[in-house]
Symmetry: C2
Subunit: 565 residues, 2 copies
């Protein structure tokens, strides 16, 4: 079987840009090649010429080693056939195959007809809705209003902020025809909205009394990625993007931190994902930001997933667009801005954090179905008794706000249903048979504790007892999943004090945490030689003096290096 | 001042198609001209050749008479200047100017940088959220799941259903460049999703057990309209589109009717818009549908707004895409489908139904702010007393679920605030001054009853009394707005029994209701000669035998004719 190696985002970025620059376009190039080169240059600064050439060679080799798209397609045909038989690859042996099998079998998503696009199916979308429901409330509580900006952005806007255009040009989808006519100016399908937001902010912000201006939108965005993976990286994805403007740099910084904290709290409390929160290195900072904060999650294969980011944009966009206000002294000033986003990628993070060989495992607080009831009967006369009991339990749980599903279909055996709903990751299963009904009890099974160990017999059907019991159980599962993920995370982070230790840790698929004060060039060398990037300088820092693992110079902070999605 | 005449949607449709067909494109035409012609032909069937030519001439004249886009822009500059002074045009003298002024002053929306696009600002978006919140619950209650389909559709998909391509080809936005490369197949930015939905349905539907399949998505859509108007017709807009597949035509018909009924109930109960529900004529049926149901709302200027539609698609798309299932007898059958949609256009309908010369007037159930509290003080020592009382009233109302805003800014006088929040359409205003505080009372004003008549003094501040009073008042306003709209609607529908009566009614800006069994050609003649189209054959029909107003033949139904947005 051909291995599907997904290069880290940053590695990929360069690969794609290099490939695009190397491949001459048929006809006129809609993205000027100097832009592609510029992007390339930005990631590999001038003073790193020698590394740059090695790097691009290395990338080319990487590219040659990874299978062409057609092979992926063929593999996916083969996979599709096996999936029809309900097959799920072994998580430990083929993590990527397992991931794709789970997405298909649990009906979370499907491939769209256009390469790299994804159809989010109801069960997957319901997880996204749970993410939305929580965050939307938090955004409003902290003073943000939802609104909507158009998705078509004049091409000239993208060119206004230098590092922004370098970052996004190679990934743009362009509308060139509208209403049967060639357009005078190409339109960019938004890859992110900072440019159009600033264009509008200039019209709405006049005085300091108009600040802070704090908005958010739930929207689709498009980035023309070459290597895609459902949820994790798709050509079009859904997200929320917050945009704020402030009168002072301190306020903007406070806002950027507030929002990354909201993301962190969401990850821990709702998704049971123990992210590491921190600051991105200069090399990894968002194209157009002064500072990027991130939550980094460790997936089941040890790779990092950037699960949410919050940017302090400084005055980069306000200077480019002339977004100004008159301050209290009558002086014109440029605003200080932030932007922050979480996307459907997070759903991928949930799958890859909690799943097991059986399939999906969902934290109760974001599970579309928290409890599934499977009625069990053999003889016809048992059926109505059992079903009536099941219906009444369903009703009671629903009334108390628990998301419950009664699977009363007669097409499938109870055993088939057990497997099916375990694969779908439902946290709690309730079984009700004829004997249970006569004793006024039922059986409760936990998804996260397999076999008999996770099974409790004789739980009372009495409404208030049962509801309290189930709610307790859901809470227990929620914290148990978080605890398990914390244990996994901590046993896979290695403290390193030298480059050789770092290489060793990375080669074992772990995260390396060590003091770092070396240059951008050295950071890129690590990436080139190990495939790992600085995921962040974590907010939680060890005390004491530290020496840079690479140079031996004094280092103020430790950084975390890891391979990433 | 140049008048901004917005032609009716259908009139416009032909104008745009004709214009596009007449104007040769620079370079290669991305939409083959035979498609444009085909669309043209569909609206003017072959057997109407003579009318067709007159019609297209008429359209061309219409086009010449309406101002070119640049003039509109200049007018909008002038308007912008006046708006800065808070100016709102007279609703009765310049309905369109009034509409645009209200949208700008109430900060509902703004123009995007790309012609025809709209930025939905927080206050306008909050109205859309109220629409979403209500409908989303109803959709789920009736068994639909939310999901998400990609917005990029291969061009070949659009061509599969004949009347669909005729209907939509002239309005498409095409992505031709992705990731710096010319694409092999152009991608359509979805104008609606029936084609991609069917492509996916073929993969998910196998047996009758997979039916009914009932999904919905909240999404943005793009239609390259030439004449745009905020909310009512924009190049990109937000909507929900429901898509269902059923085993029998009866189930599909039942679903299409159920959904138009949900829309109707929403319009009456939430938006206080007394829509007329009915069936579209064949000429006005959605491109690709067998039958279209509609809710038609009467705007303040007497024009009709198609505010929501539900389509019985029959097997049109399932035949084109091969969407089949195996029935209980093992036979392969094509599914029967529906689709239904409500869009941000509805926000325009709310503005144009309830507003007055003062500005917006929002029905309490969809108002982002239901109650505004304006504290009034003169001396410094009154301030804290009044503000404390206002804060406690705010808290009590908020706790009881009322959407309340305390305007405690010191930049503006109470009088300015009264005007401002009236213009923003807030249903109830509470005034609290020092004397009110000492008597433990406050003043309540209704937005919908101007002056002293709408004002009640001495309402008790005591929590439970106040909350009950405010809730009562909100209910009263809600039903009063609906009643007013019903009265307006009914006084502007004229029963006609001849074509001359119809012409008379239309020329007075009214709706004409009369028996109709004439041909498509005669329907188009009415459109050509009066500008009015059949809005619907209403579900509510008078009893007794009827004679067609045009031909004198027996007619089974009355139709409603009106000019429309």
């Amino acid at each position: 079987m051909v291995a599907l190696r997904i290069p880290s985002l940053s590695l990929f970025t360069v690969t794609a840009a290099a490939a695009a620059a190397a491949r001459p376009l048929a006809g006129s190039s809609p993205v000027p090649s100097h832009l592609l080169r510029r992007r390339f240059r930005r990631l590999i600064p001038k003073h790193l010429a020698s590394i740059s050439s090695e790097f691009s060679t290395h990338s080319a080799v990487e590219k040659a080693q990874s299978p062409p798209l057609e092979e992926e397609e063929r593999e996916s045909e083969e996979r599709r056939r096996r999936r029809k038989e309900g097959f799920i690859s072994s998580r430990s042996q083929d993590f990527n195959g397992w991931y794709l099998d789970v997405i298909a079998n649990a009906e979370l998503a499907d491939y769209g007809p256009v390469r790299g696009t994804m159809v989010i199916r109801p069960y997957g979308y319901a997880i996204w809705e749970a993410i939305q429901d929580y965050l939307n409330v938090k955004f409003k509580e902290t003073g943000h209003s939802n609104m909507y900006f158009p998705q078509f952005i004049p091409y000239s806007f993208i060119e206004k902020e230098a590092s922004h255009v370098e970052g996004f040009s190679p990934e743009l989808a362009l509308v060139t025809v509208g209403g049967g006519k060639e357009l005078e100016e190409k339109l960019v399908v938004r890859p992110t909205s900072e440019t159009i937001v600033n264009h509008m902010f200039t019209q709405w912000i006049h005085s300091h009394r108009d600040l802070p201006l704090m908005v958010n939108q739930w929207a689709n965005v498009t980035r023309w990625e070459m290597r895609t993976k459902p949820f994790v990286r798709t050509l079009e994805f859904l997200w929320q993007e917050g945009h704020t403007a402030h009168a002072t740099p301190e306020e903007a910084e406070k806002e950027a931190l507030q929002m990354i904290n909201i993301y962190e709290k969401f990850a821990y409390d709702q998704a049971a994902i123990p992210v590491i929160t921190g600051r991105k290195s200069k090399v990894e900072t968002f194209a157009g930001a002064s500072r990027t904060y991130t939550i980094e999650a460790m997936m089941g294969d040890g790779k990092a997933l950037q699960a949410g980011t919050s940017h302090n944009l400084g005055q980069n966009f306000s200077l480019a667009f002339g977004t100004q206000f008159t301050d209290e002294n009558g002086q014109r000033q440029h605003v200080w801005q932030t932007s922050w986003a979480i996307s459907t990628r997070f759903v991928g993070g949930i799958i890859m954090t909690h799943g097991d060989d059986t399939g999906l495992m969902l934290p109760p607080r974001i599970a579309p179905i928290q409890v599934v009831i499977v009625p069990i009967w053999k003889k016809a006369d048992e059926k109505s008794v059992v079903l009536n009991a099941a219906l009444s339990v369903e009703k009671e749980l629903k009334t108390s706000g628990i998301k419950v599903k009664l699977d009363d279909s007669e097409q499938r055996t109870p055993g088939w249903k057990f497997n099916f709903w375990e694969m779908k990751g439902v946290p709690v299963r309730i079984e009700i048979g004829p004997r249970d009904v006569s004793s006024g009890t039922l059986v409760i099974s936990r998804r996260d504790v397999p076999g008999k160990q996770g099974k409790v017999f004789g739980v009372s059907m009495e409404s208030s007892t049962l509801i309290a019991y189930v709610k307790d159980k859901l809470d227990e599962i929620q914290s148990s999943l978080l605890q398990k993920a914390i244990t996994f995370r901590d046993s896979n982070i290695v403290d390193v004090s030298s480059y050789s230790e770092l290489k060793e840790a990375i080669s074992q698929g772990k995260w390396a945490r060590g003091p770092w004060s070396a240059s951008d060039a050295e950071e890129l060398k690590v990436k080139q030689e190990t495939g790992a990037t600085i995921r962040c300088f974590p907010f939680e820092q060890p005390s004491g003096t530290k020496k840079c693992l690479m140079t031996g110079n004094l280092a103020e902070e430790v950084a975390i290096f890891a391979k990433s999605y």
